[in-house]
């Protein structure tokens, strides 16, 4: 299992477009990939659009990306890069 944290800097939080890109990237890996919002404790699979949108992620939120299983390291880097580029700094 691998994990990494990100702070959401996008004023729009996690909106549909970046969520969709995260999902697209996450679906490339066989392992489990989850995103958890610190504070609310809500978490969702990064492979489902509605799950991600349902997290209600806002600017300033701290996200934890967890990958678990086959190719988990690649997944962490791949999905992490999309999150970093689309939402903010790691």
């Amino acid at each position: 299992m691998q994990e990494k944290q990100f702070t959401v800097e996008d004023p729009l939080g996690l909106h549909a477009r970046p969520a969709g890109l995260i999902v697209k990237e996450a679906q490339r890996y066989p392992c489990e990939i989850t995103l958890t919002v610190q504070g609310s404790g809500k978490s969702a699979s990064a492979k489902g659009l509605f799950g991600l949108l349902g997290l209600g992620v806002r600017q300033g939120d701290l996200l934890t990306l967890i990958t678990d299983g086959q190719n988990e390291t690649e997944a962490l880097h791949g999905v992490g890069a999309v999150i970093k580029e689309r939402l903010g700094k790691a």
């Binding site: 549909a16 969709g20 999902v23 509605f50 949108l53 209600g56 806002r58």
Partner: protein
Amino acid sequence: MKEFSGQGVSHGVCVGRAAVWKKRTYHSPKEGKDTQSPQAAWESFLAARQEAARTLEQLYAESCSTLGEENAAIFSVQGMMIEDEDLAAMVQRAIFEDGCDSVTAVKRAATRMAAVLEEMSDDYLRGRAADVRDIAERLIGCLTGEGEDIPVLPPYPCILCAEELTPAQTARLDKTRVLGFVTAHGSDTSHTAILARSLGLPAVVGVGEAAIKEIRAGETLAMDASKGRVCLAPDEKTLQALAQERQEQKLVQARQEKFRGKPTRTKSGHSLLLYANAALPGDIETVLAGDAEGIGLFRSEFLYLGREDAPDEEEQYRVYADVLRRMEGRRVIIRTLDIGGDKQAACLKMAREENPALGCRAVRHSLLHPSLFLTQARALLRAAKEGRLSVMFPLISSVQELRDVLSLWEKAREAVGTSAEIELGIMIETPAAALISDELAAMVDFFSIGTNDLTQYTLAMDRQNELLRPFWQPHHPALLSLIRTVVENAKRAGIWVGICGELGADSDLTEHFVRMGVDELSVAPSQILALRERIAQIE
């Protein structure tokens, strides 16, 4: 008379007869386990999903070229939603565990998804619930074979009233037959609002279902979009007030219409070129309708956005040739690919950067990917004979960069072997370029000052950043000083210089620019007549 209020999402006053459009109500196959086996229901869902996803891809591609990538993005998001695994899982459960037929299963899943989104405190996410309903409608249309729901318009120009308009319906609205629209749902960030603004249609959204139900087809409606007011069967007083406002707007328009077809000149006879900025081939109509004398900035990025593979030389050639022909000999200045920063193109598979605004964009990207640049260059060179083409390179910041790009251009010219006269110029949008503009002026035929980026780089501010509003100074003396330097260096070298950024349309600065010696202003098509009038007032 009844008054409704909602959110005005665009400007304009209009009076007209209502066209009421009701959403189609589906007749779902009989509910129950006996009509369609669960496996068959699941398979029809999968087939419907595939069909719907394909249509959305088409809509996306179409809209990219007619409405621009920003607006077309809606369809890309809907495409993602339709392929979502969670949605599919819900449909599967409804079919196999609850025994629903395919249509009911989709409705159930969509309702649940929409509910989740509607509960969010974020306006934007709440707005996505409408997208869920929209894709459900699309799936059901595929399942029942009824296809897409497209509003039928009456033979007279009307004000369209509906509970909700889907992005696909709004994107395809015939502007010549619709004066404006009113919807029960919707918000400022809804797709309908965004599309209304880019279509230039007055629209009021969110008046509520009760209000919409009161409107009958053919009844007179008066709408003042900026105030979010809609009047059903308006009384005299209201009609008069609106008529007055329209009168005032018309007077201004008529006054400015006098300048249509006239040369752009000051009182003392000094002339300037008034061009228009364009982003898509679809903008040409608006450019000509605005009475532009040419196109001062034709952005070529649309060719690369929203697609898997980059456009080849043939495709590009056809597009450029078409634009040149339609402009009928008026000068068209096409800017080479200005990608990067906030403009990302999937087909170019660009590297992720820490700081895209200061990154591998525009001409830098072109120099690092010469074959991409050469393809565009060859297409432009071939198209040149169809009209009067000028080409400019974006984001130049050094003499060496310019030298390299000019030598690449020469390579393309040799390959194509054309003798067409093509002016070559550069955008001045970095402080570096402005400060060495004396050296750069010796190497090109013209400058075009990109004030949007120049202001950002000079003030070191992101103009989209709300926090910086108290600090943003579009008329900052440093900026004006840089512009002056550029203009003076251009004049000294005997080349022409224009402005293609937003500052060009700023009437407070027009006289200043004219006195400086700016030769050309390239602005939004709707600003041209107003600017011509302004210039005619200068001595």
